[in-house]
Amino acid sequence: MTQLSNGPSPRTQGLNAVIRPKRFGTSLPLIPRIKPRRPRTVRRGAFWFAVAWLTLLVLAAVFADVIPGLPAYDEKIGTFAQPPDLTVGGLLGTDGVGRSNLSRIIYGARVSLTIAIVSTLIGLVIGLVVGMIGGYYRGAWEATANIIANTLSALPPLLLLLALVSAIGASLFGITIALGVVIADLYIRVTKGAVIGNVNREYVLAARALGAGDVRIMTREILPNLVPVLASIIPMAMAIMIVVEGSLSFLGYGIPAPTPSWGGMIAAGADIMRQFPLVIFWPVVTLFLTVFSFNTIGDHLASRTDVREAKL
């Protein structure tokens, strides 16, 4: 029982609290520990690594044109599949036709990040409008929101995307819009669920008692309370957007050449990976680190906002 008194607020689990595990050995491994957890240094390290990587990527993408010594993405700087050397352009070697891998990865980041950010905003706007109306008014509105969300998720996402992209056009604009529409079902579901959870809370009742209209309650009262939920979804959705954009390029339906994209670089590198595995290595690592970073940040935000997870 002494353990219960020290520490800020030890978490107890029913009867478990009074049973102390043996100091050594594994006699009662199924009973969770009751001492306060050590902070998770590994997780925190991963989080800051993710932030640092994404910052670096965004800076490189924004300032790609003024990085000294960086060749243009379509400029041939040497022979094909050249190994890395110490010039800026040759730092990561060259691709299958002799263009700088570093330059193509940085300019590819521009495409990937633009698409990820803008399509997330498009999906968010659709999701917020449909989800809030569905969650706030319930009834027929909710059924409509459900049907929209179910329709979007019942279709295989890549099939829907291919059709949308070929209808709008395989340009930056068309792909961004198509991705925004395809991801909207996630935001619709999340928003609707969160609104339903909030709509009967006291603060909404208070606002209504003060005479606030539906639109005001939705935008000024409920919307700020959706931010924590959405904040943890958005980075993960952006990771999905980057992956899906890469998949489109990989299939040959993405941003047209010669504009570089990571998916296109991986597809081109796959053709020659038998002889030159290094060419495909760099875009794969970049893509992996980026997706991993978005997921890690999303996980981190989710564990900060989700009460259940924080207890664990």
Binding site: P32, V42, S153, A154
Partner: protein, 317 residues
């Protein structure tokens, strides 16, 4: 039993509006796409009259609604039309392609489960300890590998370096089962990587929750061995999230294994979908869309029934 049947019926009814909207949406999308089926068949060299003649022959000179309602009428009688180029019945192509995709999906699910379940059991025994944290890190890394990267990596390791499996292609199981499995292994492995990591996370988090219940403490107090508690007492109540996730996975794998099928040249539904969109093969696209929606609805009926089996407190309504 009667309640169960009614539950199945109501879910099937719910699938009807979704099916109608999805097929209508697919038809509208194809209508918005530039080009026409006649153009696709004849190529760029054809004159406008030739294209118009082919379109009229295929019924594409009719207004959009007329065409959609005709398709619905025929589909209700079980007639999904013929494909644009090969003139095969769509339903035959669908069945053939679905069999391939379903085999891959089931293999991938089984492989994912066989790897994820034991690891999750081991990790859940000592939550927060080194092994659990290592597994947690590895799975979050695996989840960050897009499918078009995992196919490349799998092929690099098993085809280029180990030379253990054929790079691309497919042999039907009716022809030669051993060869079929050799060709199916790599695509299934590539599919199972992300699914397995996802399953692991779901099982582990549910198990750690269950292991803190009081009845587990009681089982410990009775002196039951740890493995017995884990497999007999804790596992079954921890499976409900897994069932949902597996249902979602199966739906996704049946309709969305596009990248893997494309890369390994597997003649499945996903590869056919890409092909059909690129040549505007309307009957084929509608057929694929219908199969996907039906699979989605059926899978969720099974998932709901499985809930009730896992946790008898849950009743199907």
């Amino acid at each position: 039993m009667k309640a169960t049947l009614r539950a199945i019926g109501s879910r099937l009814l719910y699938g009807i509006p979704v099916l109608a909207i999805v097929t209508l949406g697919a038809a509208a999308l194809m209508d918005l796409m530039p080009g026409s089926p006649g153009q696709a068949i004849l190529g760029d060299a054809a004159t406008a009259e030739q294209v118009a003649a082919i379109n009229a022959q295929l019924g594409y000179d009719q207004p959009f609604w007329q065409r959609y309602l005709d398709w619905v009428g025929a589909a209700l009688r079980g007639d999904f039309g013929v494909t644009l180029f090969t003139k095969e019945p769509v339903s035959e192509v669908l069945l053939r392609r679905l069999a391939v995709t379903a085999q891959l999906a089931l293999m991938a699910l089984v492989m994912a489960l066989v790897i994820a379940l034991p690891l999750a059991l081991i990790a859940a025994l000592r939550p927060g300890k080194l092994l659990d944290r290592v597994f947690g890190f590895v799975t979050s890394a695996l989840l960050s590998i897009p499918s078009f990267v995992s196919v490349v990596l799998v092929s690099l390791v098993f085809v280029v370096w180990l030379r253990a499996f054929p790079a691309t292609g497919w042999v039907p199981p009716t022809e030669d089962l051993a060869a079929n499995l050799r060709y199916a292994f790599l695509p299934a492995l590539a599919l199972s990587i992300a699914e397995g990591a996802f399953f692991y996370r779901v099982i582990r988090s549910d198990l750690t929750g269950t292991l803190r219940e009081d009845y587990i403490l009681v089982a410990r107090a009775k002196g039951l061995p740890r493995t017995h508690i884990l497999t007999r007492h804790a596992l079954r109540p921890s499976l409900s999230s897994l069932v949902t996730v597996m249902g979602l996975s199966l739906g996704r794998l049946l309709g969305g294994a596009v990248i893997v099928e494309f890369f390994f040249a597997v003649p499945g539904l996903g590869a056919e979908a890409v092909n059909a969109v690129s040549i505007k093969d309307m009957p084929m696209i509608q057929g694929i869309v219908t199969v996907c929606v039906l699979a989605y609805v059926l899978i969720f009926i099974v998932v709901d029934l499985a809930y009730a089996w896992i946790d008898p407190r849950v009743s199907v309504r």
